[in-house]
Structure formats: C-alpha cells, structure tokens
Assembly symmetry: C2
Homo-oligomer: 379 residues x 2
C-alpha cells in the first residue's frame, strides 16, 4: 500500500522515501501534473529521463474523458499512460470548484456540476469520487473536499470545512469497503483561519490515513498563510507524508519544506513553459524578484546562441540555443512546447534534488537563503 | 562536398551512400521535412533515434522567419536545429508557387510574392535563392525553378521550363561564385509532357551538377507520370543521386525507386500524423486500397489495448495503446502529435530500410509486389 521512511531531518524539514506498489519516491518531491493522463508535450519516458518518480492526474478531467471505466479496462492509470512510477490523483473537488465556479451546486450529499467539455450535467459525491479514483487506479488518492475562495468569510469557510469533514468520513468508509490497495490521503481545509486549520488538522489527524493533503492554501498575497500552515502541521503526525495541493512557486516550496511538507503538485512549470517562460537558477540570475523566470519571447534572444540557463545540464540546454527556441516560439512550432516543458520540469527536479541534499547535509536554511535572498539593485 | 557511391543494383533500383560534411546517408532514403527547422512535434534527437540520417528544411519559410541571416549568425542550419546529420533545403520555388498561387508575379528575372505571415512584399531571384540557401547552410541545396500546375497546358509548361533552365544557369553561376562547399542539385521540370521532360533532363544533365532533383511530378491521378519519369531518368547520369521533390506515398516511393530514384522528401507522414492517421505495414493490414493508413479517431479504438501496429517496434508501439492515443487525439493533447509523428516517421524509415535490404538481396520486385498487391475482398 504505502510506507514512508524519514531518512534525515534538518529542523522541521525532512527528506524521506514514500514507497508504493510502483516503487520509491524520494521526498521532498515535486509532482508534475498530467491533467488528462499526459504531461503536456512530454512522454512518460521523457518524464522519467528528467528524473521524476511520480505524476499526478486529475480525476475530474479523466472522469469526463476518456471516462474512468475506460482507464480501468485499459489496465489503470499506470498502464494507460505507460508510466511505471508512482501515481497520484486528486479528488475532483478542486476542479469542480475552480472550473465550474459559482455554477456548481453543492449540498450536504455532493456537488452538481456541468462538464467543461459539453456542458452536460454530472454529480460528484464523496463515494463517487472514491469509485472514480479506484477505477483510475493511482497509488495515492485524496478525499473529496469542498473548496472555498481564499478570501471567503469565516462563516463560509467554516461551513465548507464542516462539510469536508463529513465527506472525509464517507470517503474513508467507501475506501475501506473497497479493499483497494490505494493509499487514501485525508485533506486538511480551513482557509485562511488559524483556528479552523487547527480544528481541521486535529480532526483529519484523528482518522486512520497513511498521509495528508493540505488544501486551499494559495491566493494569499500577504503570505500570512505560511505561518498558519506551519501551525497546522504541528497537529499532523510527524511520521506521515504531507502533500501540498496545487503548490507551488519556488518560494512556497522552500517555505513549506521548512514546515515539514513532503510533496507538491502544481501546473506552474508546465503551464508557464507553454506561455513562453523558462526558469533559471540563482547562479544564472533567477531570484525572488523575477520569480526565477525569463520570457523567451524577448527580442534580445533572437540571435542568442547560449542555452536557456548556462547552469542547467538538461537535454534542452545541452543541445539548443535561446535563438532557436525563440524562433520556435515565434512560429508556434510544436517542438517549442516540448523543449520548454522539458527544461522547466528539469529545473524543478533539480531544485528538489538540491533541497533533499541540503536536508541530508543539514544546510537547508543556507540553501533557502541563497535562493530567496533579495537582490541588491545593481547597475 | 558530396560523393555518391552505388553499393548494389537490382534492375534500375539501386542502394548507395551519399556522403557530405555531415556524414553518410544510406539511399534510397526518405527525408523528413523540417519546414521551419523543426520536425513538427519531434526533437532532432528523436529523429536520429528513429534512424534518420537527413532532414529537409524550407528556404521560403526560413527566409521569412527567423531570416536566413539569423540562421547564419547562429552557425547555420545544423547548429541552429541541433541536428548533426545531412541537411537539405529546397529553393523556395515551389513554396512561392503553392503558397502564393496566382498572386505571385513571375517575370524572367524572378518572382514577386507576399509573405504568408504578414502579407509583406518580397522578391526571389535565382541569385537570391542561392544566397539565402548559402546563409542557411544545408549540405544539399536546389536550383530555383518555376513550378506549374500538373494540368497546365503544354505552352504554359514549356514557358516555365524554359525559364527554369535560364534560372538554372544563373543559379549555377551564383553558386560557383560563392566558393560554397554545398552541393547544388539541378531540377528537371517539364510537367506531364514526355518531350519536355526529356528536353529538360538533357539540358540539366549537360551541366556540372553533383545530383538532380525531379520536380513537379505530383497531382497525376492517372499515374501516367510514372512512365514519363522512368523515361526522364534515362537521360540523367546514372552515377549521380536523384531526389524526388515532394514525393511521396508508399506507392510512389516503390515506383520511383524502381526507376532509379535515391531520395524523397514529403510532408505526408508528418502531416497525416497530426490529422489523426497512422501508418500500418502490410503484415498488419496496410495495403494500396487503404493507403497503409488508419484513422486513430475510430471509436472502435476507444478500449483497444493493442499498439498502433503489432508489427512495428517503434518506441510508441512498444509503450502505448491505441486506446491511450485515441484519448490523446480526442482531447487534443500535445503528446498526441509527438507520438503519432514518431510512429509514422518510424514506418517510413523502416520501409526504406526494407527497400534497401531488398535491393541488396535483389528481391526488390518481390518486396514491391508484397506491399502493393491488391487485396482480395475478404469476409
């Protein structure tokens, strides 16, 4: 099913290994998002070549297309997408909320929503989410939760949290009934409210989950949520893995690893690649101010024969120039998306490797400082 | 510069090796088209992995974007696209004709045309085509020709052929002036008229070219052109390589190899991949009637766990199911284009390997018959 071994600690940060039926996953890890059972523009083999050990697919999208039953008939998610590493699926709760917005209709039993593809009507319940995720067959799955906007009121957030807790119990019951060997993670909610987060963490921690997800923590410009998440973490069992749903940026990854987070999933590196942004390491000018990213469309790159990042040793940086990738971007060549996605995912993979090494060497804070220090205004 | 060694002959069909500054190219060879210095959806490394030794880029497209001078500054086509094999460029004549159609204006000096990107005005002359191709820097380049519609009249075709011959002399002069070590191939025109083809072949053969292109031979539903091309070939020196511009289909490749053709370029396998067609070998049901292709969008493939072609051993067929690729097609995932393109180019690469082997073993006619025999209507 799932085991988690902590190898080394540096403060609250830790490196470890999650083991499932599909092998080992070294943590802290970034988990690239394969929304519709494919990383946009990369094959499963390329994902492995970069160095990844896990990927996360979206239950909402796969339920609609091709349908979870088809994936089951074709051998489950790993077989379907030809990926032999660890797999995650989210519960669909966030997508129903974010893609349908106020148009979805939630009651205590579940959520009615419209398909983003053809506007057809569907209903998710905690039990249904479990059944779909069981058909898809990922190694690590999540409980069905009700998501709120980060700025929603205390009252609204509390109501959704209460419902999430009830749904969590129903998910657990449905999961136990199934005899599935998937690992079900319970999700902590509570929005931006410290008391709610604490209450939610205590409740979820009281249930027999092999790991936890922390949901709904993005959208805070003030970064106050960092302190709240740190507080929340203290109520979750130390010896179990914690996944940060939908996180994150380089800065968030450092901050949450520091609180004890183990895994992260986010579309940021892949989506930004397609939009024309490539990531660069601090040695190459990446910093908090530029968010470690550069626009390949800059006309200055037209005749630039250097690689995207001279301090990156990925396949793209070893072979291709900024001038060539700038050209591919300008003419919208398909290869553009593959090369940029490859580089950005390599950047994240290497970042996590560096973080794991620093924890092993108890130099995590130094690494964090090196990456996140503000740049002096220079000439 | 260029050398060509004929290794074995089987009738007029022959296998050989073209050697340029970028290594060897085993012939008969199919040359995938990298229109804008990229195979759509594949990296240069993937092209090499499939087994290709050469690629052809389009002068017209690269002149407009990013501009031939930029490619020159970035080290020339091979360096620009990170491809270490043989490179070809066409002359731009066909693109000016096909993308601008009747809107381009041709006089004895050259052609005025509008950019397909922004409608800006440009002019190609034989000299300009040579200069652009020199900047791009491919190993094998072509003379600038005036193309006609296959069904154009004798008079129109004769006029264009005459102009093509004059332009050929100007190209040769410009090329000799440049001291370039590129190999310039002269193009035979003459449309669907046997006498004109003969006249053109004799004229082009009289000039000091290291190889030849045969232009304007597609668009004939009656296949009468096959006999005319066969006749044409007899007027070209046997010991020099012959390239079939814009060809072809599986059937055309067999027919022209049989006449002594050595290389072929065509967008068919890559374009059809993107449109949702995959190629299958005769052992897997491919034949002249179905043109060796199958639509991945067929709903019968929704739950099909088998590979695109059970007799194909490409990376895609070894890893992915029709069901998965059908799903990627339906949701328009970027990975779809890469996987299908990879498979189709592998099919063509293997076809040419089989053709070369059969020539070595003097069984070319048997192979041709096996591939092109009409299927009995079966139950």
């Amino acid at each position: 099913m799932l085991s988690f071994q902590i190898i080394h600690k540096d403060g609250l940060a830790r490196c470890g290994i999650i083991t499932t039926a599909h092998g080992n996953l070294k943590t802290p890890a970034f988990i690239p998002v394969a929304t519709r059972a494919a990383i946009k523009g990369l094959s499963a083999q390329q994902l492995k070549e970069i160095g990844y050990e896990a990927t996360l697919a979206n239950t909402y999208h796969l339920y609609l297309k091709p349908g979870d039953e088809i994936i089951s008939k074709l051998g489950g998610l790993n077989s379907f997408m030809a990926w032999d590493g660890t797999t995650f699926t989210d519960s669909g709760g966030f997508q129903v909320f974010s893609l349908n917005g106020r148009l979805s209709k939630t009651d205590d039993e579940g959520v009615d929503f419209k398909s983003y593809i053809d506007n057809s009507s569907h209903r998710f319940t905690p039990e249904k989410s479990m059944q779909i995720q069981q058909n898809i067959g990922a190694d690590i799955i999540f409980t069905f939760d009700e998501c709120v906007h980060f700025n929603d009121s205390l009252e609204r957030t509390k109501e959704a949290m209460g419902r999430t807790h009830q749904w969590t119990l129903r998910c657990l019951k449905e999961h136990q009934k199934s005899n599935s060997n998937q690992a079900l993670f319970g999700i902590v909610q509570g929005g931006r409210f410290k008391d709610l987060r604490e209450e939610s963490a205590k409740f979820i921690a009281s249930l027999p989950f092999p790991g936890y997800g922390i949901g709904g923590i993005f959208g805070d410009p003030t970064k106050e949520i960092h302190g709240i998440v740190k507080h929340t973490m203290t109520f979750l069992p130390e010896d179990k893995p914690k996944h940060m749903l939908g996180i994150g940026s380089v800065e968030d990854i450092f901050d949450y690893v520091e609180c004890g987070a183990d895994t992260f999933d986010c579309v940021l590196p892949t989506r930004l690649a397609r939009l024309g942004y490539f990531f660069v390491r601090p040695e190459s000018g990446g910093n908090v101010d530029n968010k470690f990213r550069v626009r390949i469309g800059n006309s200055q790159f037209k005749e630039d024969n250097s690689s995207l990042d001279p301090n990156c040793s990925c396949f793209v940086c070893k072979n291709y120039s900024k001038g060539y990738i700038h050209h591919l971007y300008k003419v919208k060549e398909l290869l553009f998306y593959s090369l940029m996605t490859y580089h950005n995912l390599y950047f994240y993979c290497k970042l996590m490797e560096d973080i794991r090494s620093s924890i092993s060497e108890e130099t995590f804070k130094i690494l964090k400082q090196k990456w996140l220090e503000k740049q002096e205004a220079s000439e």
